[in-house]
Amino acid sequence: MVYKQRLDGRKGDELRPMEAKTKVIPNAQGSASFKIGKTWAIAAVYGPREIYPKFLANPKRGILRCYYNMMPFSGSGERIRPGSNRRSQEIAMVMTKALEPVVDLSQYPNSVVDVFVELPQTDAGTRCAAISAAAMALADAGIPMKDLVSSVAVGMADDKIIADLTYKEEHIYEFNPESLNAVVSDIPLAMIHNTKELTLLQMDGEITKEDLLKALELGQKAIEKVYAVQVKALKENFIEESK
């Protein structure tokens, strides 16, 4: 059975509607909100500031530290146990690794830049939304960066390569009675805009080599769309006011 039409009626390469905004948290040095469909990430950047615990300090450069947290009510409505867990720690780690290549903290030895990402509402693609929001928040905070990082997931649901999967598409075999034996894969990607280098590439599920290459090609195009939204949001704050 081929997945003919997507559950929410989107085209294969179409992303969910995106909405981005910066300066959403006045207390933080920089902040951003990034919505893609029902997934919503809010990022706040603090620092460079003194690092605790002290043994983490690097005398050669400042370090980047990310936190990822899904709010207890954020999923389907089932309460998630609050606080850190294996999954959120892993995602915080891959976020840090996705952002580190562009952030230049060589001028801030022994310090730390903290990036906190909270997700009030989730519908798959949270790590991608978190990375996109964090990159905007870092730029908004005036942290020196080589480039922006944009992120989106691609994958396969029942033989069809699609961009920006929802939770239902990741679990298509549960929601679509015709797709009981569907092969599903979910590939979150993050890319540096200018060099087109991937800084995040993970996968859940199965995919053939040929399909993976096709999916990555689609991912590159999808990421460009996210980048456009990020740039617009970063500039918007200043352009609107000058009119």
Partner: protein
């Protein structure tokens, strides 16, 4: 053949290509990779001759020798005080740099400057690891008493001071307050309660609208309307 891709005072994001070709030189907050010049921060572009630089719209304060800053005493050591500079790095104020008066060996340093006192100091030394030494021996450097301290983004400090201190002089005249602006973004305002409140609002307005031109007139109108 070199080509410039930006206009003066245009807003750029990190990673945006500013110019192609070797005829242009990367200035502040920019970098070159092969023949292209890229922006490193979110800010306003400025081209002067062949040099392209970006004026950052936000960002941390970088301690620089000669800057006057406002700090807070956080700890008292054997022969000096540790000072919070509102950055990732704390500074050291040595006894010999704190006062011109002779201090006996067994004297209680907290009688001179206590923890949580705010002081106006000059940065006299910064190492590559950002260890900072500050001094209070210059004219106008002292312990802060009374008034209020507000915090703004340190990148907006030049705008608050204005060209040849025009902006800050205007606020001082209109509100009758004594105002000291630290390069680290802390500002001390001392005056009548109404004057202090008006000055604080004016400074916050400058911080918000710092990327716009014709700000002095706006601030003047604001302060005139406020009373």
């Amino acid at each position: 053949m070199s080509e410039i891709l930006i206009e003066e005072r245009k807003i750029v994001v990190p990673g945006e290509v500013l110019a192609i070709g070797l005829d242009y030189v990367p200035g502040e907050n920019t970098y070159r990779e092969e023949d292209k010049i890229f922006s490193k921060v979110l800010g306003l572009a400025a081209v002067s001759g062949r040099v392209i630089k970006i004026t950052s719209l936000a960002g941390p304060y970088m301690p620089t020798v000669g800057d006057k800053i406002i700090g807070r005493i956080t700890d008292i050591a054997f022969s000096g005080w540790r000072v919070d500079t509102n950055t990732a790095y704390s500074a050291m104020l040595n006894v010999k740099d704190a006062t011109t008066r002779f201090i006996k060996k067994e004297e209680d340093l907290s009688k001179i400057l206590a923890i949580d006192d705010y002081i106006i100091v000059d940065i006299i030394n910064v190492t590559s690891q950002r260890l900072i030494d500050v001094s209070m021996r210059e004219l106008g450097l002292k312990k802060i008493q009374g008034g209020r301290i507000i915090e703004i983004n340190s990148q907006k400090v030049p705008r608050v001071i204005g060209k040849k201190a025009s902006m800050i002089t205007l606020i001082k005249e209109k509100t009758g307050c004594e105002i000291t602006v630290g390069q680290n973004g802390l500002i001390w305002i001392l005056g009548s309660p109404e004057g202090e409140a008006a000055a604080e609002r004016a400074i916050k307005m400058i911080e918000e609208k710092s990327h716009l031109s014709g700000l002095t007139e706006q601030v003047e109108a604001f302060l005139r309307g406020g009373r």
